[in-house]
Amino acid sequence: MDFDLSNAELAEAFRAYDYICGQDVLLPVYLALRLHKPLLVEGAPGVGKTEIAKVLAKILDVELIRLQCYEGLDENKALYEWNYQRQLLRIQMGRDARESDLFTEEYLLMRPLLRAIRSATRPVLLIDEVDKVDEAFEAFLFELLSDFQVSIPELGTLTADHIPVVVLTSNSERELSDGLKRRCIYLYIDFPSPEREVEIIRARAPAVPAALARQISLAMHFLRTGLDLRKKPSIAETLDWAQALLSLGIGELDAAVVAGTAGMILKNHSDLETLARELDANGLKRLLNA
């Protein structure tokens, strides 16, 4: 495990794990590692925000601890909870159990944040979709991210032996607090250019012919920028589409192929209708026009 990678080594490692990106993505990641600061990643769904944490864990060869945020997430689910059932059993087994015996680390259910703090090695902590929690939890989170210690009333203060590499992701559904943003290095990931998307397809699905990869990336670029869709297709959908076309033995896009496989890239009815109208009106002309 080497946390002192140079910028060039980091770029090489990202490429080795098929995460294709430019310096605009790599440099903030590098800075977050060097300056020991959390990395806050924003961008549309499906541009590869979560993937950054996964790749980092692989590169650094450490454990990835993931806290998936959702509406109504509380500290019991994020930090720790006492193992009530086990405590009860202990009471039943030995009537002479003292209260202090029941509140030891043995009876503590560690949730992701506490696990990251107590980890024996330096882990990567991914706090995914942080914009889904409420402001109070966010405030708790940035306190934790500045001190890396937790006070448990029955146990005292637990301090991190190793400061985790923290990656937070957000879909910008809610403005995050200034306090949280101030503590982080910021990275905004946009959809890739067609050229970069070709590289991504070629890296992740090497069997896709270059010409088809080029057509796919142009079509995806147009779908994201040229049509008013409710949900823009993500990179994952690009790759699914490429794989599907490959397994159908299709070497070149035409209007019928796009219409027939549109369900791979657009996942709601009104978007599918929008694409169908576009194909009826212009065929592939605008779709494949760079």
Partner: protein
């Protein structure tokens, strides 16, 4: 600061860099990007980690440490390009600044001459300093006019004039000019660069390029959106409506599960442990998404905002399943089914307007809300969020305020998007009255709507 062989201090490069970054931070702040000293320190640390001669790396390092949201990110590149410039560009800026200053000085001289001619009493020039004359020259036309009027009135009847009055008049004029000079100085200090030319230049370069960084469409008053931009505006409004819906519908608070143990299921589940309550079962909290009731003002005074109102209503109808939409003017009209059925192109939405019975009439929110209470009482539950789009120019405002106060106690929240700019609310008695009972937000441009969404709306509910 180190001292050179000639006895003069030579600037420390680290200090120079810090100063330069602090100036850049001031430019960012002037452009609306919040940058604290913590961010400047991070930026300095980041710069130590990158190649100082690589402009691209420098830009990325500063962007990652100083521009921390999507909006800031979008304007950062232009601010960076305008501030960190080549020596040639700096020299050309310096010469254009000198030229600008010379022009300004010539203009000041000309206006001071005018000032001397303007500020006379009994045919004699007042005894004023150059600085006071310069202040006069910088005043607005209206302010200069007021001063001239004062002198003319004082000059009124030549027969009754006493030359002894001259010092008194001079004193009054001087006092006035001094007061304005102080005000101008304060206003100038509040300007972005506080007279620091580097900051001013950086900021000027940024403002000169299209509308301060954001999409120019966001800055336009909604009644001025040009026809050729309608499609884009509609898409933007739909996107914002979707975000508003997400903000309202999201349940951020944690369920209080510790209070809701399901005893029947718990006891049943624990038979196998001999009745010891090991495996607790909780009553699942029913997840109820709130209902949105949208009430759009389509009276005559709101006619110019009609496109916005309709696109907004349509955008919400497409994303919120439990939405009731009403149009109101003198009365209330339920348009929910018709709105859902529409395709959402400008022409079909205009058709909705034409088919409406209340379109373009006078405004009586009192009647409209009373009808809502009478006929749609079951909509008023703790699960309902009201969104009202209106300019508050209504009859029966007191009655409407009383009904809103009643409704507020029954519903989850009332959000009022007001197309009148907030600084004019004080002048509208109805706005003052109604704002007491609702969460009122200025919403005259799409940028305003975006700002509303960035603020914490309906905090603590849910």
């Amino acid at each position: 600061m180190p001292t050179g062989s000639n006895g003069f201090s030579t600037p420390d490069p680290g200090l120079l860099l810090t100063l330069r970054l602090a100036r850049f931070a001031a430019v960012l702040r002037a452009a609306g990007i919040p940058v604290g000293s913590g961010e400047v320190i991070d930026a300095l640390d980041a710069l130590r980690e990158v190649d100082p001669l690589d402009r691209e790396q420098t830009r990325l390092a500063l962007s990652a440490t100083m521009a921390k949201d999507e909006r800031a990110h979008a304007s950062f590149d232009r601010l960076f390009a305008g501030f960190f410039i080549s020596p040639q560009e700096a020299a050309s800026r310096e010469s254009s600044r000198t030229a600008r200053e010379e022009l300004q000085a010539a203009e000041d001289r000309r206006r001071m001459g005018e000032g001397r001619a303007d500020l006379q009493f009994m045919g004699r020039q007042l005894d004023l300093t150059d600085e006071q004359l310069a202040t006069y020259s910088r005043l607005s036309a209206a302010q200069r006019e007021r001063l001239r009027e004062f002198l003319q009135r004082a000059d009124g009847d030549p027969a009754s004039l006493d030359p002894a009055l001259l010092p008194l008049v001079e004193h009054v004029v001087r006092e006035h000019l001094e007061r304005w000079r102080r005000q101008l100085a304060v206003a100038r200090r509040a300007a972005p660069g506080a007279n620091d030319e580097q900051i001013d230049d950086g900021y000027r370069g940024f403002v000169a390029g299209a509308g301060g960084g954001d999409d120019p469409l966001l800055q336009l008053d909604m009644q001025q959106i040009p026809a050729q931009e309608t499609g884009r505006a509609m898409a933007l409004i739909r996107k914002l409506a979707r975000r508003l819906a997400a903000r309202i519908m999201r349940r951020y608070r944690a369920a209080r599960r510790d209070e809701r143990i399901d005893f029947r299921r718990t006891i049943r589940a624990n038979y196998r442990y001999g009745g010891t309550l090991i495996d607790l079962r909780y009553r699942a909290r029913r997840l109820r998404k709130p209902r949105i009731v949208l009430i759009c003002d389509v009276s005559g005074s709101m006619a110019k905002y009609s496109s916005f109102t309709l696109y907004f209503a349509h955008g919400l109808a497409k994303v919120v399943s439990d939405l009731r939409a009403f149009l109101f003017a003198e009365d209330l009209e339920d348009v929910t089914p018709r709105l859902r059925a529409l395709a959402g192109t400008p022409s079909t939405l205009a058709g909705l307007a034409e088919g409406s019975k209340v379109w373009g009439k006078g405004t009586n929110l009192g009647i409209a809300l009373r009808r809502l209470e009478d006929e749609h009482d079951r909509l008023l539950t703790g699960n309902t969020v009201f969104v009202i789009v209106s300019d508050t120019k209504t009859l029966a405002a007191a009655e409407a305020a009383a009904i809103l106060a009643r409704m507020r106690a029954r519903v989850r929240g009332i959000i009022w998007l007001n197309t009148v700019p907030a600084d004019q609310w004080d002048t509208l008695p109805a706005a003052v009255l109604l704002a007491e009972h609702v969460d009122m937000y200025q919403c005259s441009s799409l940028g305003d709507l975006e700002t509303v969404l960035r603020r914490a709306i309906l905090v603590g509910t849910g």
